[in-house]
Amino acid sequence: MTTSDNAPSTRARSVANARPVPVISFVSAFFSNFIVQRFLLFLLTVWVAATVIFVLPRLTGQDPVKEKLLLEAQRGGSVQAGMNEMAKEYSSRLGLDLPIYEQYVNYMTDLAQLDFGYSIAYFPRTVNEIIADSIIWSIGLMTVTLTLGFVLGTGAGALLGWSRSPGWLSYAFMPLLTLSAIPQYMLGLVLMFIFAIMLNLLPFFGAYSPGNLPEWSLGFILDVLKHSILPALSILFSAVGFWAIGMRGMMINTQGEDFMVQADAKGLNGARIFVRYAIRNALLPQVTGLAISFGTLLTGAVLVEVLFQFPGLGNTLFYAIRVSDFFQITGIVMTIIISLALATMVIDLVYPLIDPRVKYTQN
């Protein structure tokens, strides 16, 4: 991933192309460029995920359309006559009766245009519309909690790992450690019980009061904030613990480094050493960790949304699973995978800005 990993190969390549044909050297330089490589990895990730999702259903030989219709018939108690014709009609409309390679090409073209087709459960509506309705809630919740969690957690971890912090701070370590080990939705259960049921302070489901319509007014925004406190807190608590533990470990390691002794010997004041020497260096693995743990945090948040019936992507996914709406499930899963892959790529690409020792340029 870093330059040390691919440096030897690029060096070998540049020796081999000592006097190259210009076009070939341009191509090789293009593909050995880190940004290009990272983008290719992003494309590969999305392609692999999409292919897995395409292949798996065809391997098991299930017919999502027919199954859905059968389920509806059982629920509604309607006659099952003409079910096969109906399934066939739907299949041809959804393009499921084409040869497999054509389906694959169609699927990939649609995906490239981020078009996930129609929902089976809410047929006239497209999956994109459903996702567009819910993703805004998820983005709001996740941005606030992930940013706050990272900042607070890293700050707490830095203080916990700093040898000159007041002694009583070390008592905060065990609770933080426990918090980070508890799944987010478990914490959500406890918070819901304490604040919504026992104390009756906060609403325990939804993102706004029933009867309220989404609009840009102060009252509605306050209502949303009130509803978001509990889901946000349950994600935040474990996120803070998670980042604090990682940061604490890195702070302890950093303090053993020679440059810390040197900074001390130079007579710099404590605050400067703490911020510019210790935090600056301990922060780097935290950022790499951010890229890796994004997925775990996000899937945890999906369940928190289900628990609080917060109308984001996770809750929509849960209802899609309950009515076995396969296209909607695929759409939501692909949306989450793409946004995750995008986020990790962005983190990897901005990393050199934070750590000048890592350079992605060729020399």
């Binding site: 897995v52 450690l177 980070s180 390691n253 053993g256 289900v306 899963v333 989450i336």
Partner: protein, 348 residues
Amino acid sequence: MARVASARNLTMRTRVRLARRRFGIFYQERIEPIFSYGRRNPSLIVGLGMLGALLFFTVIGMLVYGRTEPHITGRAQDSRLDAYVSGGAPVQDKRLPPSWCTWCEDIVELEADEKPSLFQYPMGTDTQSRDLFATNLRGIPLTLGTGLIAGLLSVGIGTITAFVAAYYRGVPDVLIRLLTDVGISIPGLLILIIIRIQLGTELVWWQLGAGLAAVGWVFSSRTVRSQVLVLREQPYVEIARQSGMSGLAIIFREMMPNLIPYITASFVASVAGSILASIGLEALGLGDFSSPSLGMTVYWVIQFGAITLGMWWWWLFPLVFIVIIFVSLFLISAGLDEWSNPRLRRQA
């Protein structure tokens, strides 16, 4: 000196003395370090203790807790532990709080002859009057078992692929590295959701574990591979290769002992991750509906709105067990950190 002497016929006393000395050396070299490691790492001991206590509680509970007492639904032939598995339809709506809890009687009205004795339902019942103590006793081993299967399989696959990548280099290495890079950035839980929905059948605990390993091995592979790459450049591995040791012998005799800390750490991490994912999958309603695992209990809790019904015993006890599992696994992995990362030893 002792070794030369031991071959000859010696008096019993000498033999005992020699055996004692040999045991002393063995103790000092092998056992003592374990204890001193434990003393320096209380978190490892606490974590193992918590996990051990949970297992002890489960085993004792399953042995002691009634196999013969009639179930409240009236199916006298059912033992209580089987009450959940046999999955009977709800007979009556009698949700009982823990029977020792004298202050929570008012949730349901009971006839005088139905009053349970003091420890008849130590963790109460759910809305379908299933015994939750029995459910939890069944659920803990199921959940731990899923994690264990997933952990073993993913560490196994991860280690093998790591060795293949590091041994052959070239194309296999590039392929495996790409696969792990791609696999790490795709959340396994989402792929599992698709797999599970497409299979259509419910996955029993070990199948769920295998499924989790199928998406989780990439993490182990990555950890172990980076270590194998470091190790294979070490002088002693080079010497072993020069002196004609076979590839397998180098792997098992020279490299494995140095990899065990990493493999163990990666095992603990993947057990914890798999249990987290399995509970998540079950809470989404994709678990085995006839199984009383902890995750399924969470699913029923959410489905029946146990929190709003005020049935705290339904969610609190599984929650406590889940927290014990995660905290103990976390403490174990924190305790093992020093073993796999000797740089930390200065601070510990």
